[in-house]
């Protein structure tokens, strides 16, 4: 599964969010999208997810325009972990995860043993099985986030999109989650695209970084190519020191105050 955006233009009203944005992400790649607030990161994820469609230009998933993908097929291919999922009605954590099985069910079919097994595996991986029978709306923000990660895993996608999915996680769960992503990436060739504000996290885990600035792709490339003091200064208007992490040899950013 490879992704390719060609001259994507998008706007909600008059203000353009993305202008002539092109990129490509190959199969089994881990890519990070970074950029200041309002630079179009979440919009880009929604376009990749087929929730929004480009006004001009196109997004190709495996060479096929996202408009031409049937909904359920797309849901079996691309999954997203949103920032938050708010429901006013009480659902149990397990029910939320099982919803990830919906694209795999035939019309009017109930979840079978296999679906429960896959959902429970996803919950085990995200350490959420312990509160399967608790109500989703009564969990903490970090626990809810892990439930949403489990739901996305239950979709068994080829491409996983993460919208700041580590912000509410504590250190231990962050580490577990990141190593889980690495493992899925290696063993199942899962393509992972994550949006984050943590530039060091992006540098440490991404093969490719897309730096968005005012709806344009300001820089795209390996962490060493994109994370430079110059780029960060231009896009975020802050002074930083970029050196090399002595252990990983990857760029490391420190804020200068």
């Amino acid at each position: 599964m490879f992704l390719c955006g060609r001259d994507i233009n998008f706007s909600y009203s008059k203000e353009p969010i993305l202008t002539d944005f092109s990129f490509s992400i190959e199969e089994a790649m881990i890519a990070a999208i970074i950029g200041p607030n309002g630079s179009g990161k979440t919009t880009l994820l929604k376009i990749i997810n087929g929730i929004l469609f480009p006004a001009n230009g196109s997004l190709l998933i495996n060479g096929v325009d996202s408009r031409r993908w049937p909904r359920k097929e797309l849901a079996k291919t691309v999954a997203i972990v949103p920032q938050e999922n708010f429901s006013i009605f009480p659902f149990y954590a397990e029910e939320i995860v099982l919803m990830g099985r919906f694209p795999h069910l035939k019309n009017h079919q109930f979840e079978g043993k296999k679906d429960y097994r896959i959902a429970h595996e996803a919950m085990e991986k995200t350490a959420t099985l312990a509160f399967a029978s608790r109500r989703y709306d009564q969990l903490s923000a970090g626990e809810r986030q892990r439930v949403l990660i489990a739901r996305a895993l239950a979709q068994e996608p080829k491409i996983l999109l993460l919208d700041e999915s580590t912000v509410f996680l504590d250190l231990q769960h962050q580490m577990r989650f990141l190593s889980l992503l690495r493992q899925l990436n290696k063993e199942q060739n899962l393509t992972i695209i994550f949006v984050t504000h943590d530039i060091n996290l992006a540098a440490a885990h991404a093969d490719r970084i897309i730096l968005l600035y005012c709806g344009k792709n300001y820089a795209i490339g390996s962490p060493a190519e994109v994370i430079t003091a110059e780029n960060i200064k231009k896009v975020y208007d802050v002074n930083v020191l970029v050196d090399e992490n002595p252990q990983t040899r990857l760029p490391r950013m420190t804020l200068l105050t």
Binding site: I51, N85, S87, F89, F91, F102, H108
Partner: protein
């Protein structure tokens, strides 16, 4: 799921028999059960008068109450899910008001002389309201915004109330009586044919809705979530809306305005069984049926031999329950 549905069905049947026994003319348990057995075997162990009361008066009314109760509760569950608002129901959205206005116009122009004349106008009033409410709140594109829908329902409802009051102040006393009874909800006038019509609509609507129940669970999570999990949101919502409008419009058109069933029953069912609509739809339908049969039985006997409109009973139960809920949420 099957067990819970079976349990609620049993509750409905038991309440049905209790309701058959109760009434201003006392007919004992044994006789009622005997008569039901007769109905199956074709025997005659009751007097003609008792048979008339059971089979021509009480039984049709119980069935009608059940169908209307199920329709209102089902409509409530679905509207609440569709609008993601636990306070939405046919009454709040103005559908009942539109239906009432249609019925009143029907009564005034003498449509009562034709079979299904008044209910037909009430039905058209209800459907017109659904489209009006959605047109007002829809805005550009087909994306329905939840809160604006509820708000436009409230506004349109207020307008209808004013129109109804206007008509009430200009009609003569005979028409006034039949209008008032209609406005308070009345299960006494139902004929077998009307009951049949309502039953067919309920069964048809329920099948359509149940086939969408899994998608309804995802829709409740928000349009984007539903879409990303593979639901065709617009198409699903349209189907659900049409089926629900049909069910509720028919129920309101035939039985008049019966408030609070559409809010109270779904809420109780969610509290007991959770939010999975594949369970919630049958549970709310069955419990709604039981609830209205019970309420109607009370309405029949509390001032016997006179009768109260059933809407009075549901409102008397519903309003305190509602306040209790609000208080509980406040804490």
């Amino acid at each position: 799921m099957l067990q819970i549905s079976a349990l609620l069905l049993a509750l409905f049947l038991v309440l049905g028999v209790v309701s058959l026994v109760t009434g201003s003319v006392s007919i004992g348990w044994k006789k009622v059960l005997l008569s039901l057995a007769d109905g199956l075997t074709g025997g005659h162990s009751l007097s003609a008068q008792e048979e008339l009361i059971i089979f021509s008066v009480r039984l049709p009314r119980i069935i009608f109450a059940g169908v209307v109760g199920a329709s209102l509760a089902l409509g409530g569950v679905v509207f609440q899910a569709l609008l993601r608002n636990p306070l939405a129901d046919p009454y709040v959205l103005g559908i009942s008001g539109g239906s009432a206005l249609g019925a009143i116009i029907g009564i005034l122009i003498g449509a009562g002389a034709f079979y299904l004349g008044v209910p037909l106008l009430a039905f058209l009033g209800a459907l017109a309201t659904v489209f009006l409410v959605f047109a007002v709140s829809g805005g550009k594109g087909s994306i329905l915004r939840d809160n604006s829908l509820l708000l436009s329902g409230v506004v349109i409802n207020a307008f209808f109330s004013a129109a109804i009051l206007f008509f009430l102040s200009i009609v003569n006393s005979l028409e006034l009586h039949s209008i008032t009874f209609w406005l308070m909800g009345d299960l006494a006038r139902a004929s077998l044919r009307e009951t049949g019509t309502a039953t067919v609509c309920l069964v048809f609507g329920f099948i359509v809705l149940y086939s969408q129940a899994g998608k309804l669970n995802l829709l409740v999570q928000g349009d984007e979530t539903a879409r990303q999990l593979g639901v065709n949101v617009e198409k699903t919502r349209q189907r659900i809306l049409i089926a629900t409008s049909l069910i509720t419009a028919v129920a309101v058109a035939l039985a008049g305005i019966i408030g609070f069933v559409g809010i109270m029953v779904p809420h109780m069912m969610r509290l007991l069984f959770g939010s999975d609509h594949r369970l919630l739809l049958p549970a709310a339908s069955l419990f709604g049926a039981s609830f209205l049969v019970a309420a109607d039985t009370v309405a029949r006997v509390v001032l016997a031999p006179a009768e109260l409109p059933v809407g009075v009973i549901t409102a008397l139960c519903g309003a305190p329950y509602f306040i209790f809920l609000l208080k509980k949420k406040g804490n």
